[in-house]
Symmetry: C2
Subunit: 339 residues, 2 copies
């Protein structure tokens, strides 16, 4: 007898109890066995389920997390999104997803919309927030966790991989491989990840006494990375190794090197990426890359988020998770290094 939609009052009447009894049964408050049984029976008969909207309105907790994503083109994000959604779903939360247009101006409007829905928290994936926005969220007591991006100055929690350390590892790896002319096609310098990876990379090279041949901002975009590759290889002293700011760009670099310019990888040039998206393991690319441990990053994000929801007073928390270098076939492997 599943009619249009039953309310707690309908159930109450059918069960012969008060509406509050029904509410108590479904919100886990205390009730006698007898009442619980009667209510459950009636609810089943009517197909009743509590109205999440009404519940949210009354309690002020929507159990919805707003997710801001800039682009899904880079496979890292779909993968993260999938895990994030599963994890939150398991904890009884759900994701209201918002794509952020490239023009960073509109983001304020988007966040406003988010807040209209009384979201319990906001997770941003590779999105920066204006300080104005940060303040609003703080004022409303809405926790924010930045995933795969950090932002100094703001009091926001963030979860990233250990980007400086990661950049450094790549530098050590390339130096150990005996490369002489090392270049970097960097992640967007407007992002903390791009800057940190580049910084770590430069530090690592400096420590080894190897100069950085060139650095070009690839903007995390295929086209920019491809163009940067052409520029680099057109030099009189083209690089014999390129560290690329993320896998997504590295694929473009490999495409240009192999299929457009006819270079051998890693024979002529070694290429190293960053992320270790699934595609990096596919034979066509077989990309050596520094892995971002998505699962652990997601777990940390969820923990931080729920922690702050439970205790709004908890201070912001910046988590860095380090990942291993995954050696595959796109870069010469130094003697003695093993997986």
């Amino acid at each position: 007898m599943v009619t249009a939609k039953a309310t707690s009052l309908d159930v109450a009447r059918l069960a012969g109890v008060s509406q509050s009894a029904v509410s108590r049964v479904f919100s886990g408050a205390s009730a006698s066995e007898k009442t619980i049984a009667k209510v459950r029976a009636a609810a089943d008969r009517l197909g009743y389920r509590p109205n999440a909207m009404a519940r949210a309105m009354k309690s002020g907790e929507s159990r919805i997390i707003g997710l801001l994503v800039a682009y899904l083109e880079n496979h890292f994000y779909p993968v993260a999104l999938e895990k994030l959604s599963n994890e939150l779903q398991a904890r009884g939360y759900h994701i209201l997803i918002f794509m952020v247009p490239n023009n960073a101006e509109d983001i304020d409007g988007i966040v406003e919309e988010l807040m209209d829905y009384q979201v319990d928290g906001i997770i941003t994936a590779s999105v920066s927030m204006s300080s104005n926005l940060t303040d609003r969220c703080a004022a409303s007591g809405i926790p924010v966790v930045m995933f795969n991006r950090a932002q100094d100055g703001t009091g926001l929690s963030s979860v990233t991989s250990a980007n400086v350390e990661g950049g450094r590892k790549v530098a050590e790896f390339l130096v150990a491989g005996g490369h002489q002319r090392i270049a970097h096609i960097a992640g967007w310098e407007g992002s903390s990840t791009g800057r940190d990876r580049a910084l770590g990379f430069r530090l690592g090279l400096a420590d080894a006494g190897v100069p950085l041949l060139a650095e070009i901002d690839g903007m995390y975009a295929r086209e920019h990375a491809a163009e940067a590759t052409r520029t680099l290889m057109a030099r009189p002293d083209p690089p014999d190794a390129i560290f690329v700011g993320n896998d997504h760009m590295a694929f473009a670099v490999l495409d240009v090197l192999r299929h457009e310019l006819g270079y051998k990888v890693p024979g002529d040039v070694s290429v190293v990426g960053y992320d270790d998206v699934p595609l990096a393991a596919w034979a066509a690319y077989d990309l050596t890359t520094l892995r971002q441990p998505v699962k652990r990053m997601v777990d940390a994000t969820v923990e931080t988020m729920l922690g702050q929801i439970e205790d709004p007073a908890r201070p912001a928390q910046k988590t860095e998770i380090s990942g291993p270098l995954i050696m595959r076939g796109s870069a010469r492997i130094p003697k003695g290094w093993t997986q």
Copy 2:
């Protein structure tokens, strides 16, 4: 003066009007210029925005669309999701996203959760629904649109590409290319897309009088497709052309053919996929494939969805959109065929 959170009543008091006046200003009902100005000013000062939850509860319209997705591993879905989200956002709707676990049993529970949120509609992406579920949605008057999958018998709207026609086009293309031993690694036979593409392909071959060498269900999974490829190539009469049920599997097929078994593509074997995900155009794969016009499919999905929300009496609508064959480098191009 952005305090915790202002309600319409706060605004009303500050503006010196009634709470209903505030409501009317923000819901676009008629009001005098003077009132509008006063309310707007007060609202700005308080940082007031209407509470979407409360609005949803009262009006019964949440302006939220539930989206059920099975997996994001196949790039077709992130791309579609991005467009879908943008499109709906532009129309004032938002997406509550749910990942459906592989065990199809749980899907009922997921849909229940969806309905708890009073979603205005449900879009499923490559997910099948039990008839039980279908009934519940119908009973609740919640429109459902299936994206990239159709289901007979249910009265549900669906938007797909013209899969039978598409399969046929591929058959004609391969036959025209002079291939003799043509095999098919099919999409999951439990899905309408997989079945229809295979059906069209067989029909096309039959019309041309060319036999189908073999057909294996690739389950839309990389590993299955890879294994199927090994099986096919181990035959005494290995195929000289393989039509693969979607790009995602086709990449695995190419990886195995080229890097594991050492075949030349398209020299030894031609490979054709289905979808035309961005990756298909990248040089490393350069995959000939039948394009599913995502943009148009998404548009149709949104139109159908909103149409049914506006007028619940509107009958279900099955849309099929045909796409072109995109000729790239993974399959021999018949003489005289041009892009």
